[in-house]
Amino acid sequence: MAGAASHSEAGDGAQLLLTLANDREGFDQTRLAVLRHLAPHGASQQLLFKVELILEETLMNVIWHAFPDDEVHPITMSVQVEPEDIVMHFEDDGMAFDPLLAPAPKLPTSIEKAVPGGLGLMLVRKYARSVAYERNAGRNCLTVRVART
């Protein structure tokens, strides 16, 4: 699985299902698969930017922090186009982590005090219409909705 993002599409063409490994090799393929899926739906440049940002920050957070071992873990995700929103759902079997409980990073007031961390999750919350988390059967399940307009 490492390095290969596989995907399959649902029958109505509105949902994309993807599985990738918890390494950084497959990330670009995943991103491009999502962009291909959204292309026929007339997404604006701004909407695609938001989707790509949420995809990057969410997946990198899982890849970097969810797994204390060196094993390969599948991360599954789906992208669904709804009339009002694009809905991204992520699942992994890593350590329980509710991003909604993570404190917002304290924005630095000077370069001496700047700690470059926690910015990714803050950006997800800024760009999403809503973020929902649940721990279900030992899996982190995160649903991020992005408004289409």
Partner: protein, 115 residues
């Protein structure tokens, strides 16, 4: 578009780095070592042209903060300029201008170095 980086030296020894393409994790992986070497090792004031950048994620912001701090410790300054609207909105959301000056264009960036 791939991530690109072009280094020149402007009048007064100012380092100018023109970045292009995507500043996401794969992109930062490709340029971070070169970027840090070009900015921090030279220890001269630096202006960073973002006009060719079409995507910016937190990995890119972290790279800017780390380099600006390294430069600050050596008594020099870094200014970002020319960000396109979508990239600029990311900079605004994390309030980066509180710690790294952000200018509209190269002329203003060079003026900010004097401030």
């Amino acid at each position: 578009m791939d991530t690109g980086m072009d280094v020149t030296e402007l009048d007064g020894g100012v380092t100018c780095i023109r970045l292009s393409g995507r500043l996401d994790s794969p992109g930062i992986d490709r340029i971070e070592v070169k970027f840090t070497a070009a900015v921090v090792s030279r220890a001269h004031n630096a202006v960073i042209d973002l006009s060719g950048v079409d995507f910016l994620a937190s990995m890119g912001i972290r790279m800017f903060i780390a380099s600006a701090r390294g430069l600050h410790l050596k008594g020099a300054k870094m200014v970002l300029f020319g960000a396109q609207p979508l990239v600029h909105s990311v900079l605004e959301h994390v309030a980066l201008d509180q710690i790294i000056p952000i200018a509209a264009n190269e002329t203003q960036a060079l003026e900010r170095l004097q401030g």
